[in-house]
Subunit: 599 residues, 2 copies
């Protein structure tokens, strides 16, 4: 099934919902302009649709093969990777000073969405490399930057992120991999890591493993962790990377989805010891991990949007093509199923949820850009708060709707959706990992009601709520009835969110009660914020329509208002009904003891 980058949706979201052009004023992106953005999106759309999308099913069918410690990726992956490098896509959103294109992270996220739509298994490689690049930019020594960073930014080499161990998944503090200092300043690592995405493959000449490990005599728990750079190939005396390090893939997982992505069991130092170099300071591994994690979380949200968009496009095309049954006003014969109200609603619902999730992830990315490059400290601080607030929502909502929309994609196909050759099932399988990795969605919810809620006296939430209420008032003041409908449901959702935020933040709130409602509260947040961003887009569309620019795509702009209007009725209107479920309390949950639960 072909993929077509939804460039109108993406550029509208970037510009009119998230305010991309605000970044031009920062001076941090001298080349940034509307024309450049358009050119990048079009080129990115062409590259991903033409080179990567056709390999999606091939990757699913072939998977990767591990033999003698070497992984061979699916046919075509290596060649496609070379084209990714050739196009300089890996460095899109990294500073020109480090060899990148010097464009905003938000544009990087837009490209990332296309990459994930086209080929989620393939896209994981460049996505993991991005996290490593961010760490090296922040804490790499000059030598590390020269040796590794430059080659990661070109895409010539890739990176992997090594956290999880058999007994340490969400509980990073339980990590046991050890690192012993050597006389030359390097370390010897020993330990096993699991679920290592693109830990070994044949697409690049070298792989830079970032490994969390515990130095000798470091304390237990997360405090004792340090981050190490462990290259697959070490430099020889001539400075060429020819010496095979003792870092090997010893197993490949047999997974539900993303078959094209090699998920490795990595053995470090099983023989002579794996040589690694400390990144940043010792026992600052957690801080470094959070640099990678924040980027990864936003990217997983984007991945959810990407795979949902791909599944949606396939369902949309099928619904237009497939004729079955009749509809009330078409007596001439079988109608395309898109004319059936239920099928149409599924497609509209999916489109609206993708649009909301896209707006959240892109807003998060622009906030991150402004947090780094805003032209005043106040702007940067405010943007940082927004980034912090949106990160768990981007990750969880992007992945939640990925499950929902890819499942809808199967459903629209009817029985054909259950047949693997149709391709709808692959998206459903692929998407299932997104609520799990880079911190399960429950971990995101804990972050939201724990760290994020209490930061700066709740300012992250109150700023957002204020913005939503202003938007609702703006909608109410427009003459378009759809906008007035949106205003009502948005204001009511915001009011519910305010109420439940106060409940969560109550001084006497038992943590167990708060945790028992955290996931539902996170959904309430995401739906309200998503509906808000769609409303922001609807306001902009309305304004443009009022201006009656002869060049405008009036149908598209009307569609943006229709989409926000649908979301308000179908999603926002149900938000206030979540109160009881959020505040249900630990007693109600834990009343069901293990013995009561047992079959």
């Amino acid at each position: 099934m072909p993929y077509q980058a939804p460039i109108r949706d993406i550029s509208f979201t970037l510009e009119y919902i998230c305010g991309l052009s605000a970044l031009e004023k920062t001076g941090a992106y001298p080349d940034l302009s509307a024309d450049l953005v358009q050119a990048i999106l079009e080129e990115g759309g062409k590259f991903t649709a033409q080179e990567l999308a056709p390999l999606n099913r091939i990757g699913d069918e072939h998977g990767s093969i591990l033999k003698d410690g070497m992984v061979t990726t699916a046919p075509g992956f290596k060649e496609a990777y070379a084209k990714l490098v050739e196009g300089g896509w890996q460095g899109l959103s990294f500073p020109a000073s480090a060899g990148g294109m010097g464009l905003p992270g938000a544009l990087g996220v837009a490209f990332m969405e296309m990459l994930q739509s086209a080929n989620m298994a393939f896209g994981l490689g460049p996505m993991l490399t991005m996290g490593a690049i961010e760490v090296l930019i922040r804490v790499g020594t000059d030598q590390q930057k020269e040796d590794y960073l430059s080659r990661l930014i070109t895409g010539e080499w890739s990176a992997s992120m090594n956290l999880t161990e058999p007994s340490a998944g969400s509980d990073v503090g339980a990590i046991r991999t050890s690192a012993s200092p050597q006389a030359d300043g390097s370390y010897l690592l020993k330990g096993q890591k699991i679920f290592i995405t693109w830990g070994e493959h044949d697409c690049t000449d070298n792989i830079v493993h970032l490994v969390l490990a515990r130095t000798d005599e470091a304390p237990g728990g997360t405090r004792g962790l340090s981050l190490f750079l462990v290259p697959k190939f070490l430099p020889d005396e001539a400075g060429e990377f020819t010496i095979r390090n003792d870092a090997w893939a010893i197993g490949l997982e047999h997974k539900l989805g993303i078959h094209g992505s090699p998920t490795c069991v990595m053995e470090y130092g099983g023989n002579t010891g794996a040589v690694g170099y400390l990144l940043g300071e010792e026992m600052r591994g957690m801080a470094m991990m959070f640099i990678m994690m924040n980027s990864a979380r936003m990217n997983v949200g984007t991945q959810g949007v990407g795979v949902a968009e791909r599944a949606w496009q396939q369902a949309f095309a099928y619904a237009q093509d497939r004729k079955q049954g009749r509809v009330a006003d078409q007596n001439q014969g079988p109608a395309s199923i898109i004319h059936h109200p239920d099928v149409r609603r599924m497609l509209v619902d999916g489109k609206a949820k993708i649009a909301a999730a896209r707006a959240i992830t892109y807003s998060c990315a622009i906030a991150a850009d402004l947090a780094a490059h805003g032209d005043s400290e106040a702007v940067r601080e405010r943007a940082k708060r927004r980034e912090d607030f949106l990160t768990p929502l981007a990750k969880s909502y992007g992945s939640d709707i990925a499950l929902e929309v890819t499942s809808m994609g199967v459903q629209v196909h009817g029985g054909m959706g259950f047949i693997e050759e149709t391709g709808a099932a692959q998206h459903f399988r692929d998407a299932r990992i997104t609520p799990i990795y880079e911190g399960t969605n429950a971990i995101q919810a804990m972050d939201l009601i724990g760290r994020k809620l209490s930061m700066q006296g709740g300012l992250l939430f109150s700023e957002m709520l204020k913005e939503i209420n202003v938007c609702a008032s703006d909608c109410a003041a427009r003459s378009d009835e759809r906008l007035q409908g949106i205003a009502k449901h948005l204001a009511e959702a915001a009011s519910a969110l305010q109420r439940m935020t106060a409940w969560m933040a109550g001084p006497a709130r038992d943590p167990a009660d708060a945790l028992s409602g955290a996931t539902v509260f996170q959904t309430m947040c995401a739906e309200t914020v998503g509906g808000h961003y769609l409303a922001v887009g609807a306001l902009a569309a309305d304004q443009q329509l009022q201006a009656k620019d002869p060049d405008q795509d009036a149908e598209f702009l009307q569609g943006r208002i229709d989409l926000a209007h649908y979301f308000a009725g179908a999603v926002l209107a149900a938000v206030p009904g979540m109160d009881v479920s959020i505040s249900i309390g630990a007693d109600t949950i834990f009343a069901l003891s293990e013995r009561k639960l047992a079959p």
Copy 2:
């Protein structure tokens, strides 16, 4: 992962929620007694857990093989099928006069749940055979009963149901398979059928295909369809079934799940013509199909409950076993993840939804039993109305929660859930077919707001609502605070359902508006009715607890109240919030034209 039949839950549901013992008074089941029910559940639980559950993963890994028109099922399937026949399980709920055990259909559904939990792919075979048995009981000639029915009831032969063709899925009227009468009264069939479950296999000596086809000169659409019995082997002159009929599997589908179930492309009459015999009257195929369909729909709901229960048990066991992180009141070290509020909530949520869906499907089954055997016409008519009302809810809700709970099962396992060897992913894949086959859930919703809503002036709904309100009042009158909480949310949900039922049934309601909200309305119905049944169970548990019988399992009974209490807060309380989404209207949906939707 082992499976343990949840006998306490099943027998409590049968007796205290659905009122199984009311069937004893009908006289239709002379052997029926509480002891017999217990014995059947225990034996059924043992058989399914010991013989079928261990083959579940084997079936998934091996699938079936088609060679020279013959299908070989996965290792162990044939032997297990022989044990199913030996135990007489296929005939459990069919009349003793026809060779069955003469027990209620509700008990058959309880066994069906265990069968589907143990091995969904395997369970589909006996499930499809049941539909054919019902048709033969109702319309088979004496000869057909002697030749076929008797061998289907023993399980010696199996049956398949042949409706779908490449251009006729949900639109049965588009069927093109033809049937031409022969001089001897038989017909020659010609046509291709797809998605034929257990259409060919090696577990029985003969297979009885029930095939919808169009006789010569019959009109188009559904009116012209007749049902034919097409055996794989035809009788020779000695009456032995030795002559291979021209009915062949020509393909096996490569599916997302239920790999152990052979899904065939069947070619009828590709060579000499397939000999078939008319079942019942000509051009009454649709009526016959609905006999099979009603049984199949209830069974698919049961299948959803079954696969959800299996996935739930696996998640529960994992959550008890898997240690990670710490919890507030346990500073001693890593805690089992079941102590984390979010994980506990996922498990409680799954358990409550399974219990609600089980109560709906079993209530539907008992209503069907009473509709056939009630001791007065008034009882039978009332029961028939209830069966009609509950059938679409059983099918849709059972399958909806199957998706939800199997997905939760993956999530509880974290990264391990995405690895196929863990087994959680199989349930997630298997369950995905249930909202699709035997009428998609949208088709169920159309049935609910179309046929069912208007029957007898809305009596199906008003009777149910009255019953729910009585239950809510009963709950309010108890001293237990949990029951009072349930009363409030149940009454509010019922009131919302009443409101939206009136909206749907409004005389000026545009069908497109009704259809646009049908699926959400169906969910509102199912959640309200499911919550109601859980409340009925909670009332019964409360009553038993008051009686203080020293033999009672007080912990289990308290658990039933806790479960209903959780469901009321987490699910029922959100029901009134669905109003706007249900009444959103076709204009809001269809405003998004194909051009506005296009990427």
